[in-house]
Amino acid sequence: MFESLTDKLTAIFDKLSGKGKLSEKDVDAALREVRVALLEADVNFKVAKSFIAKVRERAVGKEVLESLTPGQQIIKIVNDELIAMLGGGQQKLAKADSPPTVILLVGLQGAGKTTTSSKLALNLRRSGQKPLLVAADPYRPAAVAQLVTLGKQLDIPVYSDESTKKVDDICKQAMKRAKEIDATTVILDTAGRLHVDEELMDELEVVKKAINPTEVLLIADAMTGQEAVKIADEFNTKVGLTGVILTKMDGDARGGAALSLTSVTGVPIKFVGVGEKSDALEPFYPDRMASRILGMGDMLSLIEKAQEQYDETKALELEKKVRKAQFDLEDFLDQLQQLKKMGSISQIMDMIPGMSKLTKQLPANASVDDNQLKKIEAIVLSMTPKERHNPDLIDGSRRRRIAKGSGTTPQDVNQLLNQFRQMKKMIKQMSSGKMRGLKMPGL
């Protein structure tokens, strides 16, 4: 029932790839499925319509249909169009000509403004900035306390003044404070408001006029439905957005909002929130997102994540091994043990080419979650180094020993081995150029 867009598109295009020649009818049938997949992923219905029209226009040409690999050509077109729809290249935060750079965060109630403002502050401090957080939400009970607490946890200064509800005054005072403490960036956390609430939208306009921010970022919930586009549009019209931060991307939200926002408003997505921890904020890369949606994985993000955690040689080693499909269970174990540092397993799996498809093929109880991770780790730990290097050694009696050692059943061991073999095969296919119509992002 909750297949991801990635899984759906992969299935659709597998069907196409299996065919030698394609007719216009084949293309239309596939694109109808693409449309449904997009709609189920909460892509705005107008956006889905124009997307399909664009892809069709390019796909039914002679060069595509009569080529040797029409299916793959069409996936490439979809990929290109997805990237275009997501805003092309990566967009960084702007800096003010003379500091401080002022970032105004706006959005609906519950989108995650306060959490995001502290994540953003941490991100900026790590890149050498000196941020000041400003509690500019005098309405929600304990909103100020929430930001003050987060600031304390991260050791980032917070300006607040609970004696007034005049937000423009609070912000003006905060700017003075920023000068006093030599802050290079000021992050203003405003109250959640409905995009149709004229009074509160006017308040934002006043604040904007008073402090002239460098960036006005809309904080948008990735789980938002069709209204996402309208919300972004209204905020953009009233206060002029310079970017979007998409929150709660760590769940199974299919991110249709992400697909639609930029194409309708022209405002780029700059960051995505991917977890509860303060460092769970990542830059948004349209090409990587597109390839993730198409089930091609996101090798570049995976490698970068690995780089953050290991030294460079190890990261390169991983990249090489993954590309050559040479990694064994020893590497697999090594990965598993580092996984906890890198995020949840589903996040990682999504980045490995073909992995999201692979996990779909397994029975429901074998789907990989963080509990499964512990079990897998126990199984691999119960193998000898030799077995890890060459899993084909594992016969019935070894299997029983491993099961006993890890507190699992021989079936569990088997399942893991099969899973591993399939994964290896999948990666081999990827790197041997079976998907040669496609450029792997960054590789």
């Binding site: 909750f2 309405y139 909103a143 789980m223 069709q226 769940g251 963080d370």
Partner: protein
């Protein structure tokens, strides 16, 4: 009943302007051909009803129009609203009612930022207005200042809030609150929980543990899922995962005061058979009303 109806209508006023105004326009045509049904499907999808529920509604309406040979726009509209009501009602034939106990425990769950804490304040206020003795357990020990937020409401509404230190074990808070509620002979204990993304298994385990702690006192909690009316098809996933973890009894549809459509409740009612019991419309304690399928649909469809 009339008041509630009026309230539904008022709060949905905006929704109608943007969405169902369109539906009315759709029917404003001399002939009902295929393009009508395509347009209708599109408007339903634009309201977050979802592809499969929209198709079901359109097919059902189409069937009735043909069977009953409907020619009038108003009759087709009626058929449409009947189809929508039918789906919403299929999930709530045995109407869900909060029943008092010694204490009855209402466990409130949902993803981050849907409006759990505010909904709890409203629900507590509502029960208190009915003359019930209500207490609240501050089970969200994770989010910074969540406890302060609940305490603010407690003071304002004069309702006792049982809380521990931030970062404490939510299970322990719930246990303490249960003991306190029994001692004070409260009729309702409403348990707040931290927002969690439904696919995070460790956090869902924590929720299961909270449920087990309540059940150990021989109390079957009534579990309410708070859903943001702006949520798209992910709402289905939320309802599914939370039901798997803690057996959701009913849904509170929060933030229906914006241009939000809340259409995903049709999908939830259709696929998961979970009834919607309340809807929230604003920031004030009284902004929570019982959900009624006919009123909801009629308020949406009425010209």
């Amino acid at each position: 009943m009339f008041n509630i109806f009026k309230k539904t209508k008022d709060s949905l006023e905006r929704t109608r302007e943007t969405w169902l105004g369109k539906i009315n326009n759709i029917f404003d045509r001399p002939e009902f051909d295929d393009s009508l049904w395509d347009d209708l499907e599109e408007v339903l999808i634009a309201a977050d009803v979802g592809v499969s529920a929209s198709l079901k509604i359109v097919e059902g309406t189409k069937y009735r129009v043909k069977e009953e040979n409907l020619k009038e726009a108003s009759a087709v509209q009626q058929a449409l609203s009947n189809e929508m009501v039918k789906i919403l009602k299929s999930s709530s034939e045995e109407s869900f009612a909060l029943s008092a106990g010694n204490p009855a425990v209402i466990l409130v769950v949902g993803v981050n930022g849907t409006g759990k804490t505010t909904s709890i304040a409203k629900l507590a206020y509502r029960l208190k207005q009915d003359g019930k003795h209500v207490m609240i357990a501050a089970g969200d020990t994770f989010r910074a200042a969540a406890i302060d937020q609940l305490k603010y409401w407690g003071e304002r509404l004069e309702i006792e809030v049982i809380a521990s230190q931030p970062g404490g074990d939510p299970g322990a808070v719930v246990f303490d609150a249960l003991e306190a509620a029994k001692k004070r002979k409260a009729e309702f204990l409403i348990v707040d929980t931290a927002g969690r993304i439904q696919t995070k298994s460790n956090l869902m385990e924590e929720l299961k543990k909270i449920r087990r702690i309540i059940e150990r006192s021989e109390i079957k909690p009534q579990v309410l899922l708070v859903l943001d009316a702006n949520t798209g098809q992910n709402g289905l996933s939320q309802a599914k995962y939370f039901t798997e973890a803690v057996d959701v009894d009913a849904v509170i549809l929060a933030k229906l005061d914006s241009t939000s459509k809340g259409g995903v409740v049709l999908g939830i009612a259709d696929e998961l058979k979970i009834p919607i019991v309340f809807f929230g419309t604003g920031q004030e304690p009284e902004d929570l009303s019982p959900f009624n399928a006919e009123d909801f649909v009629q308020a949406l469809l009425e010209k």
